[in-house]
C-alpha cells in the first residue's frame, strides 16, 4: 500500500515541480526583494551640516547631524576633517558627541586658503571606529578676506590635518544619499516594473510575429495577454514613479522629464491597441490586424526611444546635473536585490499573462461548440 502510494506520489510531485518551478521561483524572488529591500539599513551618513559657509581666520562650531549613526558607541574620539583637495585638509581641533545623531566639531580656520580664489569649497569627512567614515562632498564654502599670492602660507596651514587611519566598514548596507535617504529603496519597488514591462512587451511582439507567420489564434491570445500584463506593469511603474517624483522633484508630473513622458506615450500606444482590438467582430481579422499594428507601433516606439532623449535633458539618473541615483550609486549591495526583483516580477508577469491566456482559450472553446 505504502509502496503504491510512493510510486504514485513521486512522479506527480516531480511533474508539479516541473510545471510550477518558475512560478515558485518568481514568488520567492519577489519576497526576497521585499524583505531585503525593507530590512537592510542604510549606511551611516550625514544628513545636514551647519554652518554651510565660513570665513577665514575665525573659529566655528560645526553642528553635524548624522543619519543611522551611533556616535556614542564609538570607542575612540570621532574625527572630523574639512578636505580641500587630496593633499590639503584641516582637522577639527575638538569634537564633541552630543548624542547618537549629532556631533559638534570645533574648527579654527587659518588666515589663508590654499588657493588664489576668494572662495573655496571643501568637503566634510567624519570618521570613527563604530560607524566607519562618511563624506559630504563640496558642501562648505569658505571665503577668504585677502588672497595670499604665492599660496605658501595657506598651503602649509592646510597641510597640517592629514587624513589617515580611515575606518571603512564592510557591512551589508544600502548607500545613503541626502536627497533620497530611505527612498533609495524604491529602486526595488519602482524600477523593476519598467524592466519587466519591456521584457514582457518584447515577448508580446514575438508572439505577434508568430501569429503572422503561422496564422494560429493561440499566438494572438498570447500576444494579447503579454501586452495586457505589460500595460498593467507600465501603469504600476508610472503611479509609483509619480509618488517618488512628488517627493524628490516636487511635482507628480514633470513635462521636463523625458522618461516619464516617453512611457506615457508607450502606454497610450498600447491602450489604443486594446481599443483597436475591441473594434472587430471577426477573430481572424482582429488577430491579424492587431498583430500588424503592434509590430508597427513597436517600430515607432524604437524611434521614440531614440529621438526623445535627445530633445530635453532628463531628471532621471544617468543624465547631467542630477543629484539622484546614478549608475555609480548602484553598488553591489543594491544589485543583489535589484536584479532578483526584476527576474521575480517578470516571472510573476508571465504567470499573470498565462492566466489570461488560459481564460481566452477557454472562451474560444466555449464559442466553438
Amino acid at each position: 500500500m505504502i509502496r503504491f502510494c510512493l510510486s504514485n506520489l513521486k512522479p506527480r510531485k516531480f511533474i508539479f515541480m516541473r510545471k510550477y518551478w518558475w512560478k515558485i521561483l518568481g514568488v520567492i524572488l519577489i519576497i526576497y526583494s521585499f524583505t531585503l529591500g525593507l530590512l537592510v539599513p542604510l549606511k551611516p551618513g550625514i544628513s545636514s551640516i551647519d554652518p554651510g559657509s565660513m570665513r577665514t581666520a575665525s573659529s566655528y562650531q560645526m553642528e553635524i547631524v548624522g543619519y543611522n549613526t551611533f556616535y556614542t558607541r564609538a570607542q575612540d574620539a570621532v574625527r572630523v576633517w574639512l578636505k580641500y583637495d587630496s593633499i590639503h585638509a584641516l582637522a577639527a581641533s575638538k569634537t564633541r558627541v552630543v548624542n547618537d545623531r549629532s556631533l559638534v566639531a570645533d574648527f579654527d580656520i587659518p588666515k589663508y586658503l590654499p588657493t588664489n580664489d576668494r572662495v573655496g569649497v571643501v568637503s566634510v569627512i567624519v570618521d570613527d571606529d563604530y560607524n566607519g567614515f562618511s563624506v559630504v562632498p563640496s558642501t562648505v564654502f569658505i571665503t577668504q578676506d585677502s588672497v595670499d599670492k604665492d599660496i605658501v602660507a595657506g598651503s602649509s596651514a592646510w597641510k597640517q590635518g592629514r587624513i589617515g587611519n580611515i575606518h571603512s566598514k564592510d557591512q551589508f548596507n544600502f548607500p545613503f544619499r541626502v536627497q533620497l535617504s530611505e527612498t533609495i529603496r524604491n529602486l526595488y519597488f519602482h524600477v523593476p516594473f519598467w524592466f519587466s514591462m519591456f521584457i514582457i512587451f518584447i515577448a508580446g511582439i514575438t508572439q505577434s510575429i508568430g501569429y503572422l507567420s503561422t496564422n494560429k489564434l493561440e499566438y494572438d491570445y498570447k500576444s494579447m495577454s503579454f501586452t495586457l500584463v505589460g500595460t498593467v506593469f507600465g501603469i504600476i511603474g508610472l503611479c509609483t514613479g509619480m509618488i517618488w517624483a512628488k517627493d524628490t522633484w516636487g511635482t507628480y508630473w514633470s513635462w521636463q522629464e523625458v522618461k516619464m513622458n516617453m512611457t506615457a506615450i508607450a502606454l497610450l500606444i498600447y491602450l489604443s491597441y486594446f481599443i483597436l482590438r475591441h473594434s472587430f467582430d471577426d477573430d481572424e481579422r482582429r488577430a491579424r490586424i492587431s498583430a500588424v499594428f503592434s509590430i508597427f507601433a513597436f517600430a515607432a516606439m524604437i524611434a521614440l526611444l531614440y529621438v526623445v532623449p535627445r530633445m530635453v535633458s532628463s531628471l532621471h539618473p544617468g543624465s547631467g546635473g542630477n543629484p539622484a541615483l546614478g549608475a555609480d550609486d548602484l553598488d553591489n549591495s543594491m544589485r543583489l536585490v535589484f536584479y532578483p526583483a526584476i527576474i521575480g516580477w517578470t516571472l510573476l508577469g508571465v504567470w499573470m499573462a498565462s492566466l489570461i491566456y488560459r481564460m481566452q482559450v477557454l472562451r474560444d472553446k466555449l464559442y466553438d461548440y
Binding site: L38, E182, T240, D247
Partner: protein
C-alpha cells in the same frame, strides 16, 4: 493637540514598521517635517508599495469579473 498628533504619528509608524519590517533604527529619528518626509522619507517607500498592491488588486478584480462572465456563459450553454 500637537502632542496628540505626535503620539498618533508614532503609533502609526510603529504599526507600519511591524507591517513592513521597518529597520528599528529608523523609528528614533523623527524629524519635524511633513508626514511623508518624516523618518527619512520612509513613507514614500510605503506609498510606492501600497500603490503596487492597489494596482495589482484592481487587475485581479478585473480578471475575476471576466472569469465570472465566462462561467455564466458556460452555465447558460
Amino acid at each position: 493637540m500637537a502632542r496628540n498628533m505626535i503620539t498618533m504619528k508614532k503609533s502609526f509608524s510603529i504599526l507600519l514598521s511591524l507591517l513592513f519590517l521597518l529597520p528599528t533604527s529608523l523609528i528614533a529619528q523623527t524629524n519635524n517635517q511633513d508626514f511623508m518626509r518624516s523618518i527619512g522619507k520612509m513613507y514614500v517607500v510605503y506609498g510606492v508599495i501600497i500603490v503596487i498592491f492597489i494596482v495589482l488588486i484592481i487587475f485581479l478584480i478585473y480578471l475575476d469579473r471576466r472569469l465570472t462572465k465566462l462561467e455564466n456563459q458556460i452555465q447558460d450553454k
